[in-house]
C-alpha cells in the first residue's frame, strides 16, 4: 500500500530539485510514495536496479560531508548510474576557478545529474542556470537542504504513520541551519505544528513569519511534542560570539533526560548528523533505541535520494 493515498499525489515535473520552497504538497506526497518502494528494495538482498543505466551522476561537494555524500553515491549506484564524487575542497576552486567555470567544465563532460553541496546560499540555483543537466541541491549555505527534509518527513511518516497534527520541535542553531529551513517549509506544509527552540542569538528575528511557534527555552518549547529534531551545533559559534560557552549551552539547550520529560512520554528524537555528543545531545539519549530514530533517518536518506534521482531522470526523457 502506498504511504499516502495516491490520489493526493502529483508528479514533480521540474528539471531540478533546489529547495522545498519550490515544491507543492502533492509533489512531496509523490516523492515520498516513490521513496517507499526503494525502502523495501534496500532491505532486500539484491539492491540493484538498472533504472539509471548509462546515466552519469556527479556529486560536486564544496563542503566536506560523509553521510550525505555516501547516501547520494549509494542511491545513484543502486539505480545503476555511473557515479563520480568530486571533492572540491582540494581542487581548482582553491586556485581561483569560479563556481561557474567548474560547472561549465563538468557540463562539457555531459553528466545527466549534478548533486551539489556548497557553502554559499543560492549556489545550486546559480549552477542550475548554467548547466544542461538536472541539479539536486545537497545543501546550500544556510538556505535549503531539500533531501534532508524529505527524508525526515519519510522517517516520521514510516514511524508514526502521519505528519499532520504532530507537534514537532526543531532545536538548536536555527539561524545558520539549512536543515531547519527546509524542514520548517515541509513540515508546516504537511500540517504539522512546528516549533523552533533556540537561544535568541541563534534565532532569526522574523522566523515567526514562517508559520512556526518560537521558543527560547526548552521546557516550554518541548511541552507535549511528538518529535524533537536536534540540530548540529557548529563549535565555532560557541566561542562567545553567539553563546558564551559549550557548558552553558549544554545546560540550557542540549537535549537530556531531564528536559525530554517535558515532551510527550513516547516522543521521538531525530538528528541530521553528525552529532556532537555531550554538546547538543546527551550521549546515552542519542543511543536510546526507544527514543532515537537517527539510524532510520540514515536508512530513509538513501531511499528518498533514489526517488529524487529517478524522478528527475524521468523528467529529462
Amino acid at each position: 500500500m502506498a504511504l499516502f493515498k495516491t490520489k493526493q499525489a502529483v508528479k514533480y515535473e521540474k528539471k531540478h530539485l533546489l529547495g522545498i520552497q519550490d515544491l507543492s504538497i502533492p509533489e512531496i506526497v509523490h516523492i515520498l510514495n516513490e521513496s517507499q518502494s526503494f525502502v523495501e528494495l534496500n532491505r532486500k538482498e539484491n539492491k540493484k536496479l538498472g533504472l539509471l543505466k548509462g546515466k552519469t551522476q556527479i556529486n560536486l561537494f564544496f563542503e566536506s560531508s560523509t553521510r550525505t555524500l555516501s547516501s547520494f553515491e549509494l542511491a545513484g549506484k543502486r539505480l545503476g548510474a555511473d557515479v563520480m564524487n568530486m571533492n572540491v575542497s582540494n581542487s581548482a576552486i582553491k586556485k581561483g576557478e569560479t563556481l561557474i567555470d567548474t560547472a561549465m567544465t563538468l557540463n562539457a563532460m555531459h553528466p545527466d545529474i549534478l548533486v551539489i553541496r556548497h557553502g554559499d546560499s543560492g549556489a545550486a540555483n546559480l549552477l542550475s542556470r548554467k548547466v544542461n543537466c538536472s541539479v539536486i541541491n545537497a545543501g546550500d549555505g544556510w538556505r535549503e537542504h531539500p533531501t534532508q527534509a524529505l527524508l525526515d518527513a519519510m522517517t516520521i511518516k514510516m514511524k508514526i504513520g502521519k505528519i499532520e497534527g504532530l507537534k514537532i520541535a526543531i532545536c538548536g542553531d536555527i539561524m545558520h541551519s539549512r536543515v531547519a529551513r527546509s524542514n520548517i517549509y515541509l513540515l508546516t506544509m504537511m500540517g504539522a505544528e512546528v516549533r523552533v527552540i533556540a537561544p535568541s542569538t541563534l534565532m532569526p528575528k522574523e522566523i515567526g513569519q514562517f508559520g512556526v511557534k518560537v521558543f527560547t527555552n526548552m521546557e516550554d518549547g518541548l511541552k507535549d511534542v511528538d518529535i524533537i529534531m536536534m540540530l548540529r551545533m557548529q563549535l565555532e559559534r560557541m566561542d562567545g560570539s553567539y553563546i558564551p560557552s559549550t557548558r552553558e549551552y549544554y545546560e540550557f539547550f542540549a537535549l537530556d533526560y531531564k528536559k525530554i520529560k517535558h515532551a510527550k512520554e513516547n516522543a521521538l528524537i531525530m538528528h541530521p548528523g553528525p552529532m556532537n555528543r555531550g554538546i547538543e545531545i546527551d550521549a546515552s539519549l542519542a543511543d536510546d533505541i526507544n527514543r532515537s530514530i537517527i539510524v532510520q533517518q540514515v536508512e530513509m536518506g538513501v531511499a528518498v535520494r533514489m526517488a529524487c534521482l529517478k524522478i528527475l531522470m524521468e523528467n529529462q526523457s
Partner: protein, 427 residues
C-alpha cells in the same frame, strides 16, 4: 563663437526659473543670457538649436561615482565614464578614492588629476580618503590634498569605526575647513552581511545587515559633529529610521547634509528575487517602507542630494554566488531617467528632483555648476520628459554593464548634453 538654444522649458532651481525660453552662450562657453527673452529673433545671426519644448536644466552633477583609475581600469576609466555620463546628461561627477592605490596622498591625487584632465570629457571633482589606505587609523593630509584640489574626504565604501579617530577627523577638518563625507555603517554589525536583515535574508539563507548598523554611526557622528561643527555630509542613507534621527538633529539646528542613491529610492529588497547579484548593493536595498520614507526625506529637504552611486563591476565579479560577488551597480547613464520615475508616479515634483541633482550638489561640493545664471559654464542637459525606453545592458556605454534595472521600462530620456557650451552628446 556664440550660440544659443531656444524653445526649451528652462528649469534652474537656484535662480527660480521655470519658463519657456533659451540660453545664449558666449564665445568662452559661458552663459550670457537665459530665459524667455532669448528667442530666435533676439539672438541675431548665430548658431541656434531649437529644443522643441524639451526641458533644459543645468548639467547634472552626480555626487557619488567610482572610476577604476588607477588599479581597476578594466572596470571603468575616465574616457568610458565620460561617454556613459554624457549620455545620461551628467556633466560633473564626484569620484571616490577607493582605487588601487587609494587616493590618500598628494602624488596619487595629482596622478588622477592629470588622468582626468587628459582623458575625461566631463568635469571630474575628486575626493581623497579620510584615512591612510582607508584603514581608519591615520588621518590624511587634508590641507595639502585640498591645495591639490580635493573637494572633500571620505573612505568611500568604508566607514570610520574608531570613535577617537572620528573625533580627530572632525576636529582637524574644522581646522582645515575640509568637507568630511561618511559612509555610515558599523563594520562589526554588518560583517559578512550582504542583504537587508529580515525575512528575505532569512529565506535566502543570507547574512543580513540590520538597519541600526547605519543608525549607530549616524548618531555617533552627529554627536561628535555637534562638538566641532565641521562640514559634514552623510554619503548614503538606506533606512527610513535614519531620516528620523536626522530630523531630530536638524531641529537642534545642527548643520550637515545627506545623500541617497537613486537605487534606494527606486528599488527595495524584494527586487533581489532569487539571488540577482546585480542588486547586491552597499548599503543594501531595504524594505518598501524604507524606500517610501527616504522619498519623504527628499520631499522634506532632509535629504539634499540624489546620487547614482555608479559602481562599475566587470562580469566576472558579478558571476558568483550572492555571498561572494561584488557589490554595486552601474547607473550613471540611467540616473536621470530613473529619477524621473518618481516624478511620473507622483512621488516627487520635478523641481525637487532637479534641485537634488544640480543646485544642491553644487552647493555642498563647492562647484561652479548647477545653475544657469550669467557667467556660469554652459553645462546644459536637455531631456524629453516623457519619452519611453527600455534599459538594455548591451546599449550601455559604461565599460561595465552591471545595471540593477535591466529590462526596466523608463519614461524620460536625455536628448542633448552641452559641456562649456559645446554639444557633446545628442541622441
Amino acid at each position: 563663437m556664440k550660440s544659443a538654444i531656444i524653445n526649451a522649458r528652462i528649469i534652474d532651481t537656484k535662480n527660480n526659473i521655470d519658463e519657456t525660453g533659451g540660453i545664449l552662450i558666449n564665445e568662452n562657453g559661458l552663459v550670457e543670457a537665459v530665459g524667455k527673452d532669448v528667442t530666435k529673433d533676439n539672438v541675431g545671426d548665430i548658431k541656434v538649436t531649437d529644443c522643441q519644448n524639451k526641458i533644459a536644466i543645468p548639467g547634472i552633477i552626480d555626487g557619488r561615482v567610482f572610476v577604476g583609475e588607477p588599479g581597476f581600469e578594466y572596470k571603468e576609466n575616465y574616457s568610458t565614464l565620460s561617454q556613459a555620463a554624457i549620455s545620461g546628461g551628467v556633466t560633473s561627477v564626484v569620484t571616490m578614492p577607493n582605487t588601487d592605490p587609494v587616493v590618500d596622498n598628494v602624488s596619487t591625487f595629482d596622478f588622477i588629476k592629470r588622468r582626468a584632465r587628459d582623458k575625461s570629457l566631463i568635469k571630474i571633482h575628486s575626493l581623497a580618503s579620510l584615512t591612510k589606505n582607508t584603514e581608519g587609523h591615520e588621518i590624511c593630509e587634508f590641507g595639502l590634498l585640498k591645495l591639490s584640489g580635493a573637494i572633500g574626504f571620505t573612505d568611500g565604501v568604508k566607514s570610520i569605526q574608531n570613535n577617537n579617530v572620528m573625533d580627530k577627523i572632525f576636529n582637524y577638518a574644522k581646522n582645515q575647513n575640509a568637507l568630511v563625507i561618511q559612509f555610515p555603517q558599523d563594520n562589526e554589525l554588518s560583517k559578512n552581511g550582504v542583504i537587508n536583515e529580515g525575512l528575505i535574508a532569512t529565506k535566502l539563507g543570507l547574512k543580513g545587515i540590520p538597519d541600526y548598523a547605519e543608525h549607530l554611526v549616524i548618531e555617533r557622528d552627529l554627536r561628535l559633529l555637534n562638538q566641532y561643527k565641521s562640514k559634514y555630509h552623510i554619503a548614503l542613507l538606506s533606512s527610513g529610521k535614519s531620516i528620523q534621527i536626522i530630523n531630530e538633529w536638524k531641529k537642534k539646528e545642527l548643520q550637515f547634509t545627506c545623500g541617497v542613491s537613486i537605487n534606494q529610492i527606486s528599488l527595495n529588497e524584494n527586487d533581489i528575487g532569487e539571488f540577482k547579484t546585480f542588486l547586491k548593493l552597499s548599503p543594501p536595498l531595504r524594505k518598501e517602507q524604507d524606500r517610501l520614507d527616504l522619498i519623504d526625506g527628499i520631499k522634506n529637504e532632509l535629504i539634499d542630494i540624489i546620487v547614482s552611486d555608479h559602481k562599475p563591476e566587470d562580469e566576472e565579479s558579478k558571476r558568483l554566488t550572492f555571498q561572494t560577488c561584488a557589490t554595486g551597480s552601474s547607473g550613471i547613464e540611467t540616473f536621470l531617467s530613473l529619477a524621473l520615475e518618481q516624478f511620473h508616479n507622483g512621488n516627487l515634483d520635478l523641481k525637487t528632483i532637479i534641485k537634488c541633482i544640480t543646485e544642491n550638489p553644487a552647493k555642498i561640493f563647492g562647484m561652479k555648476a548647477g545653475s544657469l545664471e550669467k557667467g556660469m559654464p554652459a553645462d546644459i542637459t536637455v531631456f524629453d520628459l516623457n519619452k519611453p525606453w527600455v534599459v538594455k545592458r548591451e546599449n550601455l556605454k559604461s565599460k561595465s554593464k552591471n545595471t540593477a534595472i535591466e529590462g526596466k521600462k523608463l519614461q524620460g530620456k536625455v536628448e542633448k548634453t552641452y559641456l562649456n557650451g559645446k554639444l557633446v552628446f545628442e541622441i
